[in-house]
């Protein structure tokens, strides 16, 4: 187990360095750090002097190493638009996105497990067919369209729920949370439903297909032959085996949820990282752009590594022998 974990973490670090390199190269080619710091109305001579001072005329590898060193210390450059360090800007917006992702994940897990198990045990009855039919339709509707439809029905027509923004938030040690106020929660409902709409069908189908395979195995048959109760067979013997592949695929998908937040946040004007990213694109704020890519890249790598390690813990074959 230990060897396994070490290997995964080493891989993670390598990937991070590669992402850093990509981000850095982009910055070099497109960005203009001088402009980021002093703006546009500055003389050529002053710019050149500043370039020299910032070490922007040094060879590529030297600058790269400097970049990595700075990054590790939390310095990812300055945002041209916000006139603040990029990391600061990102961290300020992160809670919004993370809470959204959390709420959606909750919905997905709470709904997909029972629905997936149910449709696996009763593959051909009417409710199952409706669920499966609904899930194909769900997968075919893009996130942003679902979001728009939800807004139209619940906000514009029915006026039950708000249509944009986060509502009231409470600041806990720097984390702006919308979970603690009723208003905040109300604002969270539509976006998280919209965000989960793409992943929910996927998870239901995933759990269902894995579960159906598991139900056909010899050991499940043996469990029936031992006279165990149905519930124990379904939820312990079968489901525990389903968990393993579901965790690997699912874990990665949860990370992918972050990509879809960009779409959702745009529709709901949700002040999170995704929304910030688009604004950065519009304003050609390269530093912020690159910083976002690096931060999100890091997030993906961390999530994937954690998922791999959790998989190693849950799967006894790896846990005991360390092999894979």
């Amino acid at each position: 187990m230990f060897a396994f974990a070490v290997r995964r973490i080493t891989q993670a670090i390598i990937v991070m360095l590669v992402i850093g390199l990509l981000g850095f190269s982009i910055k070099q080619k497109i960005g203009d750090p001088v402009r980021d710091i002093v703006g546009v109305s500055v003389s050529v001579a002053e710019r050149d002097a500043l370039r020299e001072k910032l070490g922007l005329n040094d060879p590529f590898p030297v600058q790269y190493v400097r970049f990595i060193k700075n990054a590790v210390h939390g310095d990812l450059g300055m945002s041209f638009f916000f006139k603040r360090p990029t990391l600061e800007v990102i961290l300020a917006k992160a809670p919004a996105t993370l809470e959204l992702v959390f709420a959606s994940s909750l919905i997905i897990i709470l709904l997909s497990i029972p629905l997936g198990i149910y449709t696996a045990i009763n593959p051909r009855n009417m409710p199952s067919r409706i669920i499966m039919g609904g899930s194909i339709v769900g997968v075919s509707i893009p996130v942003f369209l679902t979001a728009i439809i939800l807004i139209y029905i619940f906000a514009v027509e029915l006026h039950w729920l708000p249509s944009y923004g986060r509502g009231e938030t409470v600041n806990i040690w720097g984390w702006e949370s919308g979970f603690l106020t009723l208003d905040g929660l109300k604002h969270l409902i539509l976006p998280s439903i919209a965000l989960s709409s793409i992943m929910l069908p996927l998870f239901i189908r995933l759990i269902r297909s894995e579960m159906m395979e598991t139900l056909e195995t010899e050991y499940v048959k043996f469990a029936w032959a031992k006279g165990l109760s149905r519930w124990r067979i379904w939820f312990l013997h079968a489901f525990k085996n389903t968990l393993l592949p579901v965790i690997t695929v699912g874990g990665v998908q949860l990370g992918i949820l972050i990509a879809y937040t960009i779409l959702t946040e745009t529709v709901f004007q949700w002040q999170g990282m995704g929304f910030m990213f688009l604004e950065a694109v519009e304003r050609s704020d390269t530093s912020l752009l690159v910083a976002y890519i690096i931060v999100v890249g890091a997030l993906f790598v961390v999530v994937n590594t954690i998922v791999d390690i959790i998989y190693g813990l849950v799967n006894p074959t790896i846990r005991i022998t360390g092999r894979k």
Partner: protein, 305 residues
Amino acid sequence: MKQWKRFKDSYFLHSFKHDRVAIASFVVLLTLILLSILAPAIAPHNPYDTSSIDIMDAEIPPSWMEEGNPDFILGTDIQGRDLLSTMLYGMRLSVMIGCGAVALQAIIGIFIGMISGYMGGKVDAFLMRIADVQLSFSTLMVAIMISAIFQVAFGVGRYEELAVPLLVLIIGLAEWPQYARTVRASVLGEKNKEYVEAARVIGLSSRRIRWRHILPNTMSPVLVISTIQVANAVMSEAALSFLGLGMPVTKPSLGSLINSGFEYIFSGSWWITLFPGILLVVFVLVINLLGDWLRDVLNPKLYKG
């Protein structure tokens, strides 16, 4: 002729004829594709002809409603273009970009997958690591990032000019890992079969063995994922356009239309978003349904996506 007879007698066709959903989906898909190809011929107006567009015509509701105009069956968008025509042209763009992107992904992915599977060892491990990492980022994220960078690098104007080929490139680059992994899995399975060994014994070159012998046998899973990938490509393009990173407002695809119509929902012009939305969903839905059916018919356990 013999091929055709084999096809006619095959389980494939038999299963198709008996699956109502598959038939219905196929018919709808064919209709949509035909409509989009013929768009220039059948659209009542030409949405790209700036001279025929009058801004005063903007936001007219569908013809069956009170303020509707029979000239514009489904109403007009915010620039005064006929919605139906723009939708047809938009779907055409989606089909073009979708197919183009999938062709690109397939070429890159099959090539890499084949090399990776056939050579094995370090090459394989390296290539698949890259594929895995890129996959873990989700292709949408990769597409968004690449297009964001391109847009900042080229500037908005230039970007919009080159939008179609750029989108094909972006989506093609973002999604090749899917093909690579599928082909690689197939190749690994085929590599150890006897016909490969026989070919080697005869003295055929590796390259020939790879492309002329193994490749045809890996086509079945490639076909299955191709349908789903087209659906994904269309969705990705719609998403990019919605975000403003795709087709520009002057040559809108369905995604850009939905985007432009979004702000006007609150003021009541719901049709600008709804109709393109419905068309997009129906289009992607039938592709998904066909893909599902194809997967069940060709190999039930192959693609768990």
